[in-house]
């Protein structure tokens, strides 16, 4: 509002994204080839959903370790319903999304009504959901995925824009609208910013916590379903490697882990940065294992910057800025 755009937290990531694209494409022109852009966008679309799923929980100042487990459970439900029961894919998708939603509500209700830390609750539910996944699949994938789903998961509707971009963009816009224009979303951020004050103002904190976890579960399930389409297989391992990414993107985007402040655009750019780096490692045939190292490094760097920003702002106030 009275903040210049270059001071906002998404500006840094944007600068990095643009610079990275310029440098990488000048070194390797195939980076900006339509095919590569399509691959990049596919990765970004799914990962954005994963990141948003964590972001909404960071907004209330909690964490959700079970994002991957919910995604995995939804993914194998999706695959299983189509293969074993022959349910048409749209219905299977809706049912799997409901499973994610219910899982999220369960997480939220446990956090809200027991007062036990979200860390412990979601660690337990991570294990429960993952166990259900393994119990159902016995670690075997579902192979029989309808062609429509496979096509939606990989093909473009407008070259080089893949279908999967649509749900990702829709989720981003809706989340932004929710968090910055609707009372419900403001209440979510208010609970993260100062739970006590929110409660005094008549906001039902338990309800908000449940809503946030429900959204998180829904988004995680959506990510899982999208991945089934993209991988063309209902893998039980879907979700196993989401944890780091789910935190990396929001914190790169400037989210404060104690709650009350997240940026949708920033998170999206965080996802883009991670995707570009992964691509670069592949393009220049650098060891892909280093992706983990880079991701970890990015988290450290981002939380360091955010922390510095906070400390500096604090000093300014102490010095009597306003």
């Amino acid at each position: 509002m009275n903040q210049k755009f270059w001071q906002s937290e998404w500006f840094g990531p944007l600068l990095i994204t643009v610079t990275a694209i310029v440098i990488v494409s000048s070194l390797n022109p195939s980076f900006l080839s339509p095919f590569n852009i399509q691959i990049l966008l596919l990765a970004i679309s799914v990962n954005a959903m994963i990141a948003f799923s964590q972001m909404i929980i960071i907004a209330i100042g909690q964490m959700n370790l079970s994002v991957g487990a919910i995604g995995g459970m939804a993914a194998i439900s999706f695959g299983g319903m189509m293969e074993v029961w022959g349910i048409p894919w749209p219905i299977a998708a809706v049912l799997s999304l409901s499973i994610g939603l219910l899982a999220g509500i369960a997480n939220g209700a446990l956090c809200a009504y027991t007062g036990i830390s979200a860390f412990v609750i979601t660690l337990a539910s991570l294990s429960i959901f993952k166990g259900i996944n393994l119990g159902i699949t016995e670690a075997q994938p579902f192979y029989d995925i309808p062609d429509t789903v496979k096509s939606l998961g990989n093909d473009t509707f407008l070259h080089p824009l893949p279908w999967l971009v649509l749900p990702a963009v829709a989720a981003a816009v809706l989340l932004w609208y929710l968090l910055f224009r609707l009372p419900l979303g403001r209440a979510i951020l208010a609970v993260g910013g100062n739970e006590h004050a929110a409660a005094l103002s008549g906001i039902s904190v338990p309800r908000i916590v449940i809503v946030a976890h429900a959204i998180s579960g829904l988004l995680a399930a959506l990510a899982g379903i999208m991945l089934v389409g993209r991988l063309q297989i209902g893998q039980p391992t879907i979700g196993d490697d989401w944890l780091i990414l789910s935190f990396a993107a929001p914190v790169i985007g400037g989210a404060i882990l104690t709650g009350g402040h997240v940026s949708v655009a920033g998170t999206f750019l965080g996802v883009a940065i991670v995707a570009i780096i992964t691509q670069v490692l592949v393009l220049f045939s650098i060891d892909p294992f280093l992706v983990q190292v880079v991701l970890g490094g990015l988290i450290l760097w981002a939380v360091g910057i955010n922390r510095y920003r906070e400390v500096r702002a604090h000093r300014k106030i102490a010095a009597g800025a306003i």
Partner: protein
């Protein structure tokens, strides 16, 4: 004047304790009402009953002619009792406007927020309270004083019939306090009913019209007009006797080698060229208003904040203090914090554990081994000497009363044989009996040779205890003089120094 609120015969019991017994309060429109009482007198319980945190076990409350039975804190606000708490009840990253109208977030969760209108509505409140800020500014960029005004605006915007202010001046500068009082007076003249809760009697006398005093969970007086009461009367109502300054003789111990000496000390926090000496057996009182930089100076001496210029001498030798561990371990400088619960004690640990902390290292043998027996031997005498009332040494400190907690935080430094003890606001939140006891103890301690630097904003406490008074203002020492124990002379001298009147220094 018409009555707006009335509580009759309020009873509130907790297992084993009658927190409130037959307490009555009556508030009128267009007045500022003081609610007073020592800690533990039932003041905060009464506030909690009025604001819906607790349900009373007996008695009735009437608000604006109707029965008032709040179901929860939010319900109390809806029914018209607003509170401005000590702790900030704002959402840091939200704009001023959104904070003022936070209540509206709950009603229609999915209806788009009309920000231009919100800012416009907020501007009205800002104008009314003379807050000079854009309603779109996030509140975490405001000064504490402005945040408080935003909280008042928030409470007023809900059409509060009664506005309760819980220690509103605790973190304000004198100037900000004046501004706040101006606004409160205007609100009163417009017909508002305000409840003012404060420990500062001067402020109460300055701004309030009537007063209710609680003592031991009962009314010591109910809604009396303040202009009938003098300061001594109020104190007598609060503590059941008049405020007493014990007739100790002032001593002159400012001789010989100072145990602690600050020479031309400047710090990163902004202290400028501070000189200060504390001698063996001497109590030096460091007086200053909140925000004068006293606790910060103490912590700089302890090595918590960096000293940029000048030096600290202990027994005449320049001390190298890089951390609190150095100050405690090498130079035996102890610090009794004003913030007992978060800085003075480890509430979830036992009495024995707490008292022993600074000496564990010293007592350990064979490369760090330590037994409870050894710790007991070196701490129990002090726990006994201070008459700490605890069921056992294994009792969690968090379960003890404020007075006993304070005794433990002092006992810790007695056990550590501190040669310099910095005591910061020792009597905040403890009952009057323990306070008197602590005062005797501090005197006794100085008689055994401990050099004591006493930081307090409590003028009677300062004049009762100190041998010499040093006045600080805005991170600098304004001057000092020997304590003659004449209340009027001393308080005038102190105020003179704070206002920069050099000639007042004797």
């Amino acid at each position: 004047m018409t009555e707006i609120f009335n509580a009759q015969g309020i009873l509130k019991t907790f297992p084993g304790v009658k927190a409130l017994e037959d307490v009555s309060v009556s508030l009128t429109r267009g007045s500022i009402h003081a609610l007073l009482g020592e800690n533990g007198a039932g003041k905060s319980t009464l506030i909690k009953v009025m604001t819906g945190v607790y349900r009373p076990d007996g008695g009735t409350m009437m608000l604006d002619g109707a029965e008032y039975e709040p179901q929860n804190t939010h319900d109390a606000i809806v029914k018209g009792i607003g509170v401005v708490h000590q702790e900030r009840n704002l959402i840091p990253r939200f704009s001023i406007a959104e904070n003022i109208f936070l209540e509206h977030l709950a009603d229609q969760p999915l209806r788009r927020i009309d920000y231009p209108k919100l800012f416009q509505d907020a501007q009205r409140w800002l104008d009314l309270l003379e807050i000079d800020a854009d309603p779109a500014t996030p509140v975490d960029r405001l000064s504490v004083a402005k945040m408080q005004l935003v909280e008042i605006a928030k409470a007023l915007s809900l059409n509060s019939k009664i506005l309760m202010l819980d220690e509103p001046t605790a973190s304000l500068t004198p100037h900000e306090t004046d501004t706040l009082f101006g606004i409160l007076r205007r609100l009163r003249d417009d017909g508002a009913s305000l409840v003012f809760v404060s420990h500062k009697l001067e402020e109460v006398q300055e701004i309030c019209d009537s007063v209710t005093v609680l003592r031991d969970g009962q009314n010591a007086c109910e809604s009396r007009r303040l202009d009938e009461l003098g300061r001594q009367d109020i104190v007598r109502l609060m503590i059941g006797r008049s405020e007493m300054i014990p007739d100790w003789v002032a001593r002159d111990r400012a001789e010989g080698q100072p145990v602690l000496e600050l020479s031309n000390v400047s710090t990163k926090l902004g202290h400028k060229a501070v000189d200060l000496k504390v001698h063996k057996g001497e109590i030096v009182g460091l007086y200053g208003l909140v925000g004068a930089g006293r606790s910060e100076l103490a912590k700089a001496v302890l090595g918590k904040f960096e000293i940029t210029d000048g030096e600290v001498l202990v027994n005449g030798i320049s001390a190298k203090i890089n951390s609190v561990a150095d100050a405690v371990g090498r130079y035996r400088i102890g610090y009794v914090s004003e913030d007992r619960k978060s800085e003075g004690l480890v509430l979830i640990h036992s009495v024995l554990e707490n008292v022993g902390i600074p000496i564990w290292r010293r007592l350990s043998q064979f490369g760090g081994f330590l037994t409870n027996g050894t710790v007991r031997k070196h701490t129990v005498p002090f726990i006994q000497k201070l008459e700490v009332r605890t069921p056992s040494l294994e009792q969690q400190v968090g379960n003890l009363s404020g007075g006993n907690q304070q005794k433990i935080s002092v006992a810790k430094w007695l056990a550590a044989e501190a040669q310099v003890l910095i005591i910061d606001e020792p009597s905040v939140g403890i009952d009057i009996k323990t306070k008197a006891y602590l005062h005797e103890l501090i005197r006794e301690l100085s008689d055994t040779g401990t050099a004591i630097l006493l930081i307090t904003s409590d003028m009677p406490e300062m004049i009762a205890l100190a041998d010499r008074i040093v006045v600080m203002n805005e991170y600098a020492v304004m001057g000092g003089f020997n304590n003659t124990r004449d209340y009027t002379e001393m308080s005038e001298g102190i105020m003179g120094l704070i206002q920069g009147d050099e000639t007042a220094a004797a």
